[in-house]
Structures are given as C-alpha cells and as structure tokens.
C-alpha cells in the first residue's frame, strides 16, 4: 500500500473533533472515528502526494510507524472511506 496512490472517497466528509475526526460516508452511511490527529492530516493529504509513503513523510510520521499507519489505512479502505487513485480520478482532478 505504501507505494500506491490513494485518495479520500468522494462521498466521505470529515468532521474535526478534539480527538481527531469523525468520517461519515454518505453512500453506505458508515461512521468511522479517526482517533489521531496525525491520521486525519494523513488522510486529508493523501490526494496531494504521489503515493502513501510520500504523504506519510509530508505529515511528519516517523518511518518506523509507516507500517502501523498502513494497517489503519487498510481498515479505512475496507469501509470505502479511502479509495485507490486511478487514472480516472486523476483525470477528474
């Protein structure tokens, strides 16, 4: 995953909260909690970087934590909170 390009799903809204953020998916109505502010910054920044690793570095997350963040992102992907960035989404930007 670290070498792939990802983005926040178009049907997801992030609401800032003191502990991080609340992510709501308007399509499947799932509510997910992002419990760390670093994770929120990372998810918001996915779109602006060539791959996940670049987004992690830009968010200032130490390299030894990259794998743990990849696990968290995988969980978000399972709920369709984030999606792989495809050529189509690239074109749409």
């Amino acid at each position: 995953m670290l070498e792939e390009a990802w983005t926040l799903s178009p049907s997801v809204a992030l609401r800032p909260e003191p502990f991080g953020a609340l992510a709501y998916h308007f399509g499947n109505r799932k509510l997910t909690f992002l419990k760390r502010r670093e994770l929120v910054a990372l998810v918001r920044g996915l779109d602006e970087h060539i791959d996940v690793r670049a987004a992690l570095t830009a968010t200032g997350i130490p390299e030894d934590q990259h794998d743990a963040y990849a696990v968290a992102l995988r969980g978000l992907a399972d709920a369709d909170m984030i999606r792989p960035r495809t050529a189509t989404t690239e074109d749409a930007r």
Binding site: R15, P16, L22, F26, L31
Partner: protein, 411 residues
C-alpha cells in the same frame, strides 16, 4: 458554569465520547407535539400542537446550522411529524443540504403516493412504530386501529420499492414473547427490526409499572439480542443489560449531552430524547442558535465532566453498564448516581422499594379530552373457576329443587 476537566488526548473512544463532541452524532428533533394517536407510553406526552411550534423558516434555519456543524443525519419524530403541513418540504430541504433524515412515524400519512416519493429519495430512512406483533398487543398501548395503519404503511413502502424500512418496537412486558414474530414481520416487508427500551418518560411514567419488562424478561431479551443482535438495531438502548455479562454491540454508554441531544418542537434543547423535563433543559436555540447551546450550556458541561459511580461504584459490573439510563432513574424518582430501576443485578428493585418521589412532569401536550384513538388499557378476562355460562337451576332441569310430596311418591 462548571469548569471542564482537562481533556485527555488519548484513551478509548468511549472515554473520548464522555468528554463530548463538537457536534452531536445522533440528534433527535421532534417537529411537533401534535399527534393523531394517544399512545399510553408516549415519551413526549404528545397530542396537541404547541402554539409556539417553530415556523417553517425557523426549521430551515436549524437545518442550515446542522449542515454547517456537519451533523450528518437527524432523527425526526414527534408527535407525528408527517402531520406538519411542511414536513415533506423540510425533509427535502434537509436532504438537499447533506443532512440525512431518519423519521419515525405511526404510518398515518404513508400513502402509496408518499411511499413512491420516499422510494425516489436517497438519504431518507423511514421508521414505523409498532409495539406489538399482533393488533391485540399493539393496539392495547397505541390505540385502536394503529396496527393496521402501520402495516398498511409498510405494505405501501414495499410496493413502492422503498428498501429497508425500519420497524421500531418499544419492548414491553406484553411483547417480549413476540420477538421472533417481530423479526418475521420485518422480514415479510423487507424491513429491519429496531428494538428500544421502554422509558418511564412522559406518559410512560404512568404506565411503566405495568409495562416494563419483568426481571426474567430482561434476561430473555438479553439472550435474544445476543443471538440476533447483529441484524437488529437497538439505538444503543439496552446498555443496562451489559451487566448480564458480555456487552451488546454498540457504545454501551449514556450519550446524553455528550453525543446525543433532543430539539423539541418549540426549539428547546434537552440532553436526550427521553429526558424532556426542565431538569435536563440546556437552553433554547432561538436565542443564539443550536451550536451555542450544544457547546456552551452549563448542563452539558456538567454531563461531560467525569461522573462518579455513586452507590454503583463498588459494583463489579459498573464498568459495563455505567449505572444505566439517567432518564429511567430520574423519572422513577431514583438518585442519578445510583442503580438503574431495571438494574439486572437486582439493585434497581431494592432502590424502587425505598423512599422515592416521582418528579412531576414539567410539560404535557396530551389531548385534554380523549378521542376514539385513545388506547383502552383494559383486558377482558373471565373468572377461571367458571366453566359454563351462569344459568338458573330450572334452566338445566324444569323440576330442579322439586321433590314429590310423600303422598304422591310411589311406594
């Protein structure tokens, strides 16, 4: 104003929720106190419209604010919300602003035409209230004809292609044995079953003693939820049952003023939908908006500060049930830092047997004169020792009690 304790930045989600959120996750908005029914256990003592009811423009302003606060959906109820003439307009207004709507109705206005409209919308959930799987059990508390109305609404929704309506059931002493029947009813209409707890709030206070599930029924409900809970919604209603052992799915936390609250038809904001009483009134949104009430009310600050377990602190189950439901305690006259009246460890019964004063209601919109919709909470029964219709002795034998004079008797 109570000073908030320093908020920790780490800790479990439940701990974070106890300190409150910037906006509610689950907001209930009762649009009107007017209702065509007069359910015996109505949480909001509904019946008559309040003349101060928010206008259409005021309701639109509330929706605009909810959109700004990113409240992603509201639970709309009442009273019967669909009898507000602007109900369908407000529904579209909200959905168009990314505020999803889940509304509770007794089904009275879910005509085939409205059902088709609902099927064409996205982001709307419909919840039909049914408190018995048969007309007999349902109409006993919801009033004559209410079961047929609800079933007709479910049929209209299904025929229109509306998917996954919810059937919302308040669990009572009379319907706990019907849990499987409710599930079958939901399956028949392609709906999802939602079970919630009977609260002694509003008119519920008058009938709670008669209707709340008995201790062994609490266990029956818990076992049923453990077996079927993954496909049944509960609105996190039964966290007091967590003290039976394993927690039920959900947050298992009292969200009052922390993640939930209630806006009533006149714009008063209460800590939760089951606590319509001045004790839990945080403010009115007409003064400075909803956000101001949510974020600055001293009542909410207090509810978000760390709570002590009180009399429950020494109970080994306190961490599972957190002392139960605040509203259930308040409306049965029990201390808020003691056991829930339906505490499954039995402490509730002890508390109920002690000295307590049930608080007087602070508002009541019940109809002043009963109508034909009023439930008749009487059960016709017969005396068990009688096994035949009463008859006079001579109806069974024309000569009953007659003995022939000795002179006429044959030798």
């Amino acid at each position: 104003m109570t000073e908030l304790a320093e908020r920790p930045t780490t800790g479990s989600l439940v701990q974070q929720f106890e300190y409150g959120l910037d906006a509610p996750i689950c907001l209930t908005w009762e649009l009107t106190y007017a209702c065509n029914l007069e359910c015996a256990h109505c949480l909001s003592s509904s019946g008559r419209r309040d003349p101060r009811e928010l206008t259409t423009a005021q309701c639109e302003a509330v929706i605009d604010e909810l959109q700004r606060m990113q409240v992603f959906y509201v639970n709309i109820g009442g009273g019967e919300p669909t009898i507000r003439p602007d109900f369908w307009h407000l529904l579209e207004y909200a959905v168009d602003r990314q505020v999803g709507v889940k509304f509770s109705t007794n089904g009275v206005r879910i005509t085939p035409e409205r059902a088709r409209f609902l099927a064409s919308t996205d982001y709307v959930d419909v919840q039909i209230s049914v408190d018995g799987a048969t007309a007999e059990v349902n109409d006993y508390v919801r009033g004559p004809g209410s079961f047929d109305t609800a079933v007709r609404a479910l049929a209209n929704l299904q025929d229109a292609g509306f998917r996954d309506a919810k059937i919302s059931v308040v669990c009572t002493r009379h319907n706990i044995d019907q849990l499987d029947d409710f599930k079958a009813l939901a399956e028949r209409f392609g709906a999802t079953l939602r079970l919630t707890r009977l609260r002694p709030s509003g008119r519920g206070a008058d009938v709670w003693d008669e209707l709340h599930p008995l201790p062994e029924q609490q266990r029956q409900l818990y076992d049923w939820l453990m077996a079927h809970g993954d496909r049944v919604l509960t609105g996190d209603s039964f966290f007091h049952l967590a003290a039976f052992g394993e927690s039920l799915p959900g947050l298992n936390l009292c969200g009052a003023g922390r993640v939930v609250c209630l806006i009533d038809p006149v714009g008063d904001v209460y800590a939760c939908p089951f606590a319509i009483h001045e004790t839990f009134l945080a403010g009115n949104l007409l003064t400075g908006g909803f956000q101001q009430v949510w974020q600055t009310s001293s009542l909410f600050a207090q509810l978000r500060s760390p709570q002590t377990g009180g009399a429950c602190a020494s109970c080994s189950f306190y961490d599972s049930c957190r002392g139960g439901c605040m509203a259930a305690k308040f409306f049965t006259g029990l201390p808020l830092d003691g056991p829930d009246p339906e505490c499954v460890q039995g402490y509730g019964e002890l508390a109920l047997a002690g000295n307590r004063v049930v608080p007087a209601p602070s508002q009541d919109h019940s109809k002043t004169a009963p109508t034909r919709s009023q439930p008749v909470m009487l059960t016709l029964t017969r005396r068990e020792e009688i096994d035949a219709a009463p008859v006079t002795a001579c109806a069974s034998n024309p000569l009953a009690g007659y003995t022939l004079p000795r002179s006429l008797a044959r030798p």
